[in-house]
Symmetry: C2
Subunit: 420 residues, 2 copies
């Protein structure tokens, strides 16, 4: 019986042209982040089902690929629910595994620990264009630094990387979950429904003020609260120093130092920028994951809907493993998105090694072939990429194909050496 | 409830020190193999259960981590056997996915196609020291070249890589599945039990001639066959040119050109060697996988039991997907094994960038901190790795730890600049 040629639903294969760009981007990521003292680590792709379903992952927990128990443990005839069949699953992000890793190894790791992770994660989303069920994430995290040096360095490193990859003119938006909360308190939304309010606010740039008002009303929030909230945004928009305005407006609701903290981050990032970008305080920035506890940030680019990077502070997640609170802050770049943008821009990798093809007439005797291969080995040892291949009947077509693969030089070898 | 700190059974995490070596080895692999014209590709870690269980994988098919069906498709109450619960699983090697990939994309790929794959695979083996359930494989394959140029290049590339990684004095053993078969025919073992004979022969270097005789007898093979077989090995050992001896001895049983083919490979590889190693013909080399159809090869190193690389020709596997026969030949290096050897040898990565740490007194004001960070950014843009971190109370201990992480230079920044 013939086997199935297609990859499984929603997952995809990476062809040589894209793979070159991915390898290049990964190379730049490692180089740049290592320059900031981030250390690569790796965790297994498989995590225990108990950890994956521990409510850290929000909506992603509905999208887990579960791995079946094995042998006698798999007793499906007596299973009462799905989770009786599985004992592990594929990770849906790199943050949960990092938190577990850190809890497991903290004693042997530098303090603070600056981790770099690049690797695949899996989510069983409905297949659609540009969304795949296996995709790479690329995270940097600083564990154990309570100061905003963590935020500053994460934003510095990420913006420097984007600059290295040729991007400029992008926008870093920052906010703080505590400001969101204070705004909701000030506006007198009911505390139990804060997250709902945030989700609607988050849509401001997509549906506009009128859209936000409509959705808040439809959700049944009081007119007074909606009014107080929007009044505040209006004043904010007209203020000269948005962060200072919020600090004053929300004093009494805000933890002390919250706006000063943001101000320092904004100033230091701006003053040490290596690339052309702008940093703005955006009090409507929400970020989906509920594990964030303080600063949150996101990078957007004109013309590419959605963000190319996002992150924030999550000071409570690691404590769930250890019982001991450990502060943490991370920034994740949208690796797949960046690769897609570069592919669409027909990005050319700078300064690649020369690529040369040796075309050998078919039927060449073993001794001559050896000589040719020795020549190839010598060229390689001097840094040239040399492809040794049989000459096709249609040499012109073959060369055209090789050109498409990036080969710019050839050498032809014939059975009769006089032909060369 | 506290979460589980340990990774799932049999899988492991990779700490910074090992990760550095892994990254270095992957870098050398990509560099060296690209030099030979191999092109990186990637396939999903998940494959359909039908393909995984198609008898291509031999014993590995018993070790598959199966992924549960989702939603309505998962109907465990009416499941008759395990496979009714799963529709996919984690790949156990990179050869099956490559064969599927090639069948799917052959029209858009160069001919022959020279693929490089590096990635994790999973096998649910009984956990034991040095054996993990997730591990990396690293394969090069040449698809669509029926000539022994494929074998020659695969061995050249692999031995060159090992040389680049600092290894020398290793042994490449080669054989041909067709010689194994001819030997068994010549000895008059029953055709239906050839594979059993091969498995016992394969142990020759471990259990010696007497051990092989004992096991063959215990398995019930005829004394005459055992005698004919061992007589042949004795003559082979005394012959000056082992390949030529086998060619003569087995003429009538061997496909024409089989030994000449091996002879050419041996000669060309030896003559173009870039590293110090020896190549030997070993008629007892078997290689486990039944999909091999011709040449097989393996690299061993003195003092490291087991092989560090293995491969061969498998001309029939891709045809199982397409119905159209496509010849193929591959070589896989034991990535995990090589990393372990380098770790054991306390391998030092050559020519790393300078690593410098900036130690900043705690409580430094925001402006001064900005200045320090700007200085760090400038040094980074000149290629230095700069870690910016808060100074600990015990500075001596902190520096000792940083030294262990490879930092060789420091600079200290105090609140009172006169202290510097």
């Amino acid at each position: 019986m013939a086997l199935n040629k297609k990859p499984v639903t929603g997952m995809r294969e990476i062809l040589p042209a894209e793979m070159q760009i991915r390898d290049y981007v990964i190379g730049r990521i490692k180089e740049t982040y290592k320059g900031f003292g981030f250390t690569p680590i790796e965790t297994p792709c498989v995590e225990s089902i108990a950890n994956l379903c521990s409510k850290q992952g929000g909506e992603n927990e509905k999208l887990i690929f579960k791995i079946m128990k094995r042998g006698e443990k798999l007793n499906w005839k007596e299973a009462e629910n799905e989770n009786d069949l599985a004992d592990s699953g594929l990770r849906y992000d790199l943050t949960l595994p990092l938190s577990r890793f850190y809890s497991n190894h903290a004693a042997n790791l530098p303090k603070p620990f600056k981790a770099l992770q690049i690797g695949p994660v899996w989510r069983a989303e409905r297949p659609q264009k540009g969304r795949y069920r296996q995709f790479y994430q690329c995270d940097i995290d600083i564990l154990g630094d309570p100061t905003n040096m963590a935020e500053i360095e994460l934003i510095q490193a990420t913006t420097t990387l984007l600059g290295e990859l040729g991007f400029s003119g992008f926008t870093v938006r920052i906010n703080d979950r505590r400001i969101l909360k204070a705004m909701a308190q000030y506006s007198q939304f009911p505390e139990a429904r804060f997250e709902e309010v945030f989700v609607i606010l988050d849509k401001l740039d997509k549906i506009g003020t009128s859209g936000v008002i409509r959705e808040l009303k439809e959700a049944g929030f009081a007119d007074l609260a909606i009014e107080r909230c929007l009044q505040m945004f209006e004043e904010f928009n007209q203020s000269e120093d948005g962060i200072a305005y919020m600090g004053e407006k929300l004093s009494g609701f805000l933890e002390e130092g919250t706006t000063e903290n943001l101000q320092q981050i904004a100033e230091c990032v701006t003053q040490t920028a290596q690339t052309d970008f702008q940093l703005v305080f955006d009090p409507t920035l929400v970020r989906g994951m509920s594990y964030y506890t303080g600063t949150i940030f996101e990078i957007g680019m004109e013309g590419f809907g959605g963000s190319v990077a996002g992150g924030g502070r999550y000071d409570e997640m690691i404590g769930k493993f250890t019982g001991v609170q450990t502060c943490a802050c991370g920034f994740s770049i949208g690796f797949e998105r960046i690769v897609t943008i570069l592919m669409d821009q027909q990005f050319r990798i700078p300064s690649q090694a020369a690529k040369k093809a040796y075309l050998i007439e078919k039927g060449m005797c073993s001794e001559r072939l050896c000589e040719v291969m020795r020549e190839a080995q010598n060229e390689r040892s001097q840094g040239t990429q040399v492809l040794v291949t049989w000459m096709n009947k249609n040499k012109k077509f073959q060369k055209k194909q090789l050109e498409e693969e990036g080969y710019t030089e050839w050498k032809e070898f014939y059975i009769n050496p006089l032909r060369q």
